[in-house]
């Protein structure tokens, strides 16, 4: 599904990623762990199409050159990024934002757009599945949301947009244990043999709830080791500093 070869990225002439390789197949859950400044967020930004980076290497998504696509085109193809810091958009209801979003994607795919009733039905069903409070939807997007509410909202958006590849950028940061559990259950309920996930985190804690198929350690812009869930445990014991 996603194939990254020798990915290098610079910003302001500083090299952040220094030849990264990663292959994700449909249905797989990959976790990337690494210390601050290792390039984790840069990776998620480059995959989702944030501007401002000088990028080299190849990234293909379902056989297509991802790097040539605009940010919104990547979203249309089924790439979703759950933001580490979801943005506030004052005056825009969460509902309105979600409806605009899903219909922009449907339109780009040549599918029929949802009318108000179909949309409300979908959103009701998804909130119920995820056990999220619907009240959040009638509030302005992320304005005055607690950290937990913002992250829940990201997961709700993910479930409604139904992406093929979901990238979770430090979704666990700033969550208390209860919120972490709820968010993780949400993610788990979306797993199936077609959807893939790339989970970016500092801590092993999140991986206790969302069991990954693969764990990669990112350090100094490269993946220095890959393994299974056991690797995360080992990392937690040793720490990033002494891990080689």
């Amino acid at each position: 599904m996603l194939n990254i070869e020798n990915l290098k990225a610079k910003i302001d002439n500083k090299e952040i990623l220094k030849g990264l390789n990663l292959n994700i197949k449909p249905g797989e859950v990959h976790a990337i762990m690494g210390p601050n400044g290792s390039g984790k967020s840069t990776l998620s930004n480059i995959l989702s199409g944030k501007k401002g980076y000088e990028v080299n290497g190849t990234v293909s998504f379902e056989g297509e050159n991802l790097l040539e696509l605009e940010t919104e085109e990547r979203a249309h193809k089924g790439i979703f990024l759950a933001f580490q810091y979801p943005l506030e958009i004052p005056g825009v209801n969460t509902n309105t934002f979600l409806k605009t979003s899903i219909n922009a994607i449907k339109k780009a795919r040549g599918e029929k757009e949802l009318d108000a009733i179909e949309f409300l039905k979908l959103i009701k069903q998804k909130s119920l599945e995820l056990k999220f409070d619907e009240k959040i939807l009638s509030r302005q997007l992320n304005v005055g949301f607690s950290g937990g509410e913002k992250k829940k909202n990201e997961i709700l958006q993910m479930s409604i947009l139904d992406p093929k590849l979901s990238i979770l950028d430090e979704t666990d940061s700033g969550l208390d244990i209860d919120a972490l559990r709820i968010v993780s259950e949400g993610v788990n309920s979306l797993r199936n043999n077609k959807k893939s996930f790339l989970i970016i985190t500092h801590y092993q804690r999140l991986l206790d709830y969302i069991k990954p198929d693969f764990v990669h350690v990112l350090k100094n812009g490269q993946i220095i080791k890959s393994g299974d869930y056991e690797l995360a445990k080992e990392l937690e014991k040793v720490g990033y500093e002494d891990f080689n």
């Binding site: 401002g52 605009e70 940010t71 943005l87 958009i89 825009v92 947009l161």
Partner: protein, 486 residues
């Protein structure tokens, strides 16, 4: 290191700023336009063409002679190219062999123009339930729905017609809120105004439909000087909307309108404007000079006047729809969205003059500037010594797009009453690259993202518009700003 803080301008987006003005067509229609120039004879000619009573001609001449003594205001930060008042034609009318008696007799080309503008003049008017008075250049062309309104006792007609049919009402109220001595452009308008709309809502009547006027400047080298007068008698209620467009021309055209509103005891007037005059091209060539005096008088107790404006067009806008709160317990409101792009300049705001006791006013202003444009909110809240227990709340929010535009807020506040209070809040924000990235990641392209964010910013004001116009305004907001982020 952080890409989020990189505020470099985005060439891709800058390219998108060039957005064509949708209403820039002209209509080939034979018209009668008097030669450019301004003197007493021209005024007599206008008055004669309109078959006006003596009192009106006298009033025009007084206004003209007063105007001659005035100097053109050098206003604030606006750089205005010199206006040659002798080079403007003060009267232009589509040529009609005989004046039309009904819509069927109106020149089909005119109707076609209104069709292009999306104005519900014909059947569409019925669907929308809107009564429309359309002013083309200087003359009011057709007023729809007259019959239905007449049954309710509502008078809604062109100004010229009202002068003939209800001279006593015109004589009683004309110039009472905006006297010709008020300012330079008000005096000019009083001298040369050619048409406009007149509304009278009788005692206790709730106007059965939204009333609406569309203004269009078609002829080259003409100015448009219309006058609107709305009188809401005791306990009545009316909602009125005006819309404006003009063709694209290289020279600047002058629009100097006057609007007077009068609300008697317990009456309410809601006045909404969607102004989309031609703003000039991306280099700032051409466009309408929109110098307008709009004022409402809450004359009676418990009366209410509410202004809502969506200002997206014009090269230069200079207007301050105001309320004089004379009656005790009267209420004044001002809701405004002003958008400037490219080289547009807007100096707009409101004045709330509290004279009566327990009077209340509310000002919500949303200014959006993009490109190289400049936006100024200028407002006055004045609470007199007799206006006990009066209150004002003002909120001015500015949104900047790109690094080359400006936004300024100048609130003048005068409170001479210790029992009254004034609250003022102001914010300035910018559409961040991060917000756009977030929207893009959710599948919205740049234009959809900007439109969504700006409409969110304007929401409080858009909500004030009558339903069918709110949708139109929302689209207009999106169009005016397409791609204008840097």
């Amino acid at each position: 290191m952080d890409p989020d803080n990189n505020q470099v301008s985005n060439p891709e987006i800058d390219n998108l700023i060039e957005k064509n003005y949708e209403f820039g067509f002209t209509t080939e229609i034979e018209s009668e336009t008097i030669p450019p120039g301004l003197n007493e004879d021209v005024i007599r000619l206008i008055s004669k063409k309109k078959d006006e009573p003596q009192f009106l001609l006298d009033w025009r001449l007084k206004a003209f002679n007063h105007w001659l003594k005035l100097k053109e205001p050098k206003w604030g930060k606006l750089k205005i190219d010199e206006i040659d008042y002798q080079n403007i034609s003060y009267f232009s009318a589509p040529k009609l062999e005989n004046a039309p008696k009904s819509l069927d007799e109106v020149d089909p080309k005119l109707l076609e123009t209104y069709d292009k503008l999306g104005i519900p003049l014909h059947e569409r008017a019925k669907l929308a339930g809107v009564a429309v008075d359309a002013v083309f250049d200087s003359v009011s062309v057709a007023t729809t729905f007259k019959k239905k309104l007449a049954e309710a006792g509502v008078i809604f007609s062109s100004f010229s017609e009202a002068v003939k049919e209800h001279p006593e009402l015109i004589k009683k109220y004309l110039g009472k809120v905006v006297p010709y001595r008020d300012n330079y452009f008000a005096a000019l308008n009083a001298a040369v105004f050619s048409d406009g709309s007149f509304v009278y809502i009788p005692k206790g009547v709730r106007c059965p439909m939204e009333l609406s006027t569309y203004f269009r400047i078609n002829e080259a080298n003409t100015g448009q000087f219309e006058r609107t007068l709305i009188v809401a008698d005791e306990g009545s209620h009316v909602s009125y909307l005006e819309g404006c467009t003009a063709p694209m021309r290289d020279e600047n055209q002058l629009h100097a309108a006057n609007v007077e509103l009068i609300a008697l005891d317990d009456a309410e007037i809601k006045y909404s404007t969607v102004q989309n005059w031609y703003p000039g091209d991306k280099d700032g060539v051409g466009g309408i000079y929109n110098f307008v005096t709009k004022r409402g008088l809450c004359k009676g107790k418990n009366s209410k006047i509410s202004w809502t404006q969506v200002e997206t067009g014009s090269a230069i806008t200079w207007k301050y729809p105001s309320c004089i709160l004379k009656g005790d317990n009267s209420v004044g409101e001002f809701y405004s969205i002003a958008i400037t792009n490219n080289h547009q300049k807007a100096d707009t705001g409101t004045k709330m003059i509290h004279l009566g006791k327990n009077t209340k006013s509310k000002i919500i202003s949303k200014g959006i500037s993009a490109g190289n444009s400049d936006m100024m909110y200028r407002g006055l809240v004045d609470i007199s010594s007799k206006a006990d227990n009066s209150r004002n709340f003002t909120q001015c929010d500015s949104l900047l797009m790109g690094n080359k535009c400006g936004a300024h807020t100048i609130p003048y506040i005068k409170n001479k009453n210790l029992k009254s209070n004034i609250e003022h809040e102001a914010t300035t924000s910018k559409i961040s690259d991060e917000q756009l990235y977030y929207c893009n990641q959710r599948g919205l392209n740049q234009e959809e993202a900007v439109s969504l964010i700006v409409n969110g910013f304007c929401k409080e004001v858009l909500q004030q518009l009558p339903m069918e116009f709110a949708v139109e305004a929302q689209k207009l907001v999106g169009i005016s700003l397409e791609g204008s982020v840097g």
